[in-house]
């Protein structure tokens, strides 16, 4: 066995073979994952991400559409949580809906755009001129991501799923002084479930929207005492109420809101206590996956 340049030829061959085997194994794992991930999503899922004091929810529709409703604050938690949920080899979000351009709902969007393929962004970004909104607009332009404007009456259909825009009307957008009042309210209907996403609306707006019912309610404004109206919850009678909230100095969620929700028998889930909350459904069955979840 001859040694050339101090190297053992057999050792080099063995080393090369090992490297080849490891690379092949990694490639098989990676492509196997791709194949597994490419099987279209059959069930409906809604994932309420634990992003701290802010909203960010991922809706996965049967057939594979992925919709992100709000991107949380600018703490990168939304991007981090999305990374755990989206398929590793297909980090694509078909539509991002920003309910209203405040920091705790839109702050995480630049980081989300940086790390994921985004089809389009819907929202009323033109209503705000903060630095984060400027950053978002810049990224949408650089990455050629389309923008969509949604107002009351608009619908988004995907397969057997339907998303209705219940609020705001055009007139409100023209005159609103408070960005919370311009929050997009969406009713997502899929696989026999109805989810109501309410942004940061107040009780007065909640009294106006009047959907027939909802299985899951995303409680307005992180459980603020000015957010949820008793009329709304009486009307929709949700099974589950999700409060997206983190450490804050506003007293969110307000005890009176928790009392109202409890009065109507809804199971309360909170991202500050239960972490990221996954709700899956189909054929009238609803399943909750969350840390210390009080509901089955």
């Amino acid at each position: 066995m001859s040694k050339e340049n101090g190297q053992n030829p057999r050792g080099v061959r063995v080393h090369a073979l090992a490297l080849l085997i490891i690379s092949a194994a990694a490639a098989i794992v990676a492509f196997g994952t791709v194949i597994a991930n490419s099987r279209a999503q059959r069930n409906f899922s809604a994932v309420f991400l634990d992003v701290g004091q802010g909203d960010s929810s991922l809706v996965l529709l049967p057939g594979g559409a992925v919709i992100l409703i709000d991107a949380g604050p600018a703490n990168k938690r939304s991007a981090e949580e999305l990374s755990k949920i989206l398929p590793k080899t297909r980090r694509t979000i078909d539509l991002v809906v920003i309910s209203h351009p405040q920091l705790d709902h839109a702050g995480g969007l630049p980081e989300v755009i940086k790390r994921n393929r985004v089809g389009a962004v819907a929202g009323h970004l033109a209503l705000a001129s903060s630095s984060v909104v400027q950053e978002i607009k810049e990224r949408l332009k650089t990455q050629r991501i389309g923008s969509v404007r949604l107002i009351r009456g608009d619908k988004i259909r995907f397969g057997g799923s339907l998303i209705r825009v219940l609020y705001p009307p055009e007139a409100v957008l023209a005159r609103a002084k408070d960005l919370n009042e311009t929050s997009l309210v969406l009713l997502v209907e899929s696989a026999g479930m109805r989810l109501l996403f309410t942004g940061d609306i107040n009780a007065a707006i909640g009294n106006k929207i009047r959907p027939a019912s909802a299985t899951v309610l995303k409680v307005p404004h992180h459980g603020s005492k000015y957010g949820l109206s008793e009329n709304l919850i009486r009307l929709i009678h949700p099974k589950i109420a999700v409060i997206e909230v983190g450490k804050n100095t506003y007293g969110h969620p307000a005890p009176e809101i928790l009392r109202i929700i409890g009065k109507y028998g809804a199971c309360i889930l909170r991202t500050d206590q239960n972490g990221t909350i996954k709700i899956t459904g189909g054929n009238n069955a609803v399943r909750v996956t969350a840390k210390n979840a009080p509901c089955p």
């Binding site: 080393h15 990694a26 990676a30 990168k76 980090r91």
Partner: protein, 482 residues
């Protein structure tokens, strides 16, 4: 019989650093008195029976005392000069302008070092909202309070960054850009590499790769940081010799095909300097960069490299650049202690054949040597040390350089054609995922050693380690002779 030049350099360098260290701790007066006594003793020895050895010892003592006093003087002088160069209005709301010096860190907030412009002078640490994102070289107009660093966290951070004040959430307006900012170009290059990782890899995998390749830690999540700590692998995120070696190997291998070896080595040295600045010039990477350049220089000049003098030179350069680093920068201390362990302690483990068991034996010896040397410092700084940290380290130490290489390859592909980079990213994330699993398994097997450490107990510990090294070395030398 005279003291050789390389010994004189070593004694002077160590003495100088010792002087800086003692002055940093505020023992200037005690140092001066001890120095006088030592000088007197050395002179007495020198004036006695004039044998060659005694003269050598007295020269060595005089040299080290002079160097020590010089070091202490240098530390105090540099402190005074820094104070003279600082003109900051503390506590009151003021308007000021400056240039962003560092590459801003983006975590939950944005943080960067600002170099003040006239009428003020010095550096301040600025913390602000994440957007707009500032870049190195941006000229900013700010309004707000600058406070003196208070508390352990800000005090140490300010010393490490040589900043005189902290500005929390001032009003900021970008007013321009510094022309021809070399740092801006380097940081832009770094961020382009990081963007390639972030697009082509999931969040956790990207944070690991950008950590071990570029030293970026801002995206390491709290649970991952905890896993690193428990598995004893946090040092992987502090760029060091392994990274410089990997970078040098890649560059030299690529360049020798295009230019002569001498030119390839020179270009590699320049690239190392650029890389060190690009990744933020942390103590460990600066130390590794200096040693890498010394090694290349020795090769170019056809000289034998002395590990001992290379370490002393690196320490001297670091101390001249950042006098506070010796006492206040834990990264600096860990980096040098680990290196000393690898250079002097590892050989006593016996050393296997190169490549034995896929290099795992060598990796285990390297890890054990480094961990023995840094143990007291880890206990003092962090409260506990992982007992089985060697397991994760051995497994990862051979993978990390390849991860770094793969990371640069991914960036190259991303620049050329992103879809191909995405395909490569699928394979790389499987490998990185396995590395993260190793870290998590090691963390789950965490058994912490928590012992109180004092200066005395640390001193005794190192005395025992050094005595053991000398004993084993002498025993081996005796066996070899007999």
């Amino acid at each position: 019989m005279t003291l050789p030049v390389h010994d004189r350099f070593f004694i002077a360098a160590v003495g100088f650093c010792f002087g800086v260290g003692v002055a940093s701790l505020g023992f200037g007066r005690e140092l001066f008195l001890s120095s006088c006594l030592l000088v007197a003793a050395a002179l007495a020895v020198a004036c006695g029976k004039n044998t060659g050895v005694r003269r050598l010892i007295s020269v060595a003592v005089l040299l080290s005392v002079s160097a020590t006093i010089s070091g202490a003087f240098f530390y105090n002088l540099s402190g005074r000069l820094a104070k003279m160069r600082t003109r900051v209005s503390f506590g009151a709301v003021a308007k000021y302008q400056g240039v962003v010096l560092s590459d801003p860190e983006q975590k939950a907030v944005q943080e960067f070092i600002l170099k003040l412009e006239k009428p003020y002078a010095g550096k301040v640490i600025v913390r602000t909202q994440n957007y707009p994102e500032y870049q190195s070289g941006d000229r900013l107009a700010l309004e707000g309070k600058i406070n003196k660093p208070a508390g352990r966290y800000w005090g140490w951070k300010a010393k490490a960054e040589q900043a005189s004040g902290i500005a929390l959430f001032p009003k900021i307006k970008r007013i321009g850009q510094k022309e021809r900012s070399f740092r801006r170009v380097l940081f832009g290059f770094k961020n382009r590499i990081a963007d390639a990782f972030r697009w082509n890899l999931p969040f956790r995998e990207a944070s690991f790769v950008e950590g071990v390749t570029l030293g970026i830690r801002e995206n390491i999540t709290a649970d991952l940081a905890d896993a690193f700590r428990k598995s004893g692998t946090t040092h992987l995120l502090a760029l060091s010799g392994q990274n410089i070696t990997a970078l040098s190997s890649i560059l030299v291998a690529a360049l020798v095909r295009l230019v002569r070896r001498r030119a390839a080595t020179l270009i590699t040295c320049a690239a190392i300097i650029g890389f060190v600045i690009m990744v933020g010039a942390d103590s460990s990477v600066v130390r590794a960069g200096i040693m890498g350049i010394i090694a290349s220089g020795a090769l170019l000049l056809g000289r034998i490299r002395s590990e001992r003098n290379a370490i002393a030179a690196a320490m001297l350069c670091m101390v001249l650049w950042r006098p506070d680093a010796l006492v206040f920068d834990v990264g600096f201390q860990l980096s040098f202690l680990a290196l000393i362990g690898i250079v002097y302690l590892k050989p006593i483990f016996g050393g296997g054949r190169p490549g034995q068991f896929w290099g795992l034996v060598d990796a285990a010896q390297t890890t054990l040597a480094a961990q023995i040397m840094v143990l007291p410092l880890i206990l003092a700084a962090f409260g506990s040390a992982p007992v089985f940290g060697i397991i994760g380290n051995v497994a990862l130490s051979s993978l990390v350089p390849h991860t770094m290489t793969a990371g640069f390859f991914l960036t190259g592909l991303d620049v050329v054609f992103r879809p191909v980079a995405e395909l490569f990213g699928w394979v790389l994330q499987a490998v990185v995922g396995a590395e993260l699993k190793i870290i998590e398994w090691s963390a789950n097997a965490f058994v912490g050693l928590a012992l109180p450490v004092s200066a005395f107990s640390a001193g005794m510990y190192y005395a025992i380690v050094v005595a053991l090294m000398i004993y084993v070395k002498r025993k081996r030398a005796k066996s070899a002779r007999g």
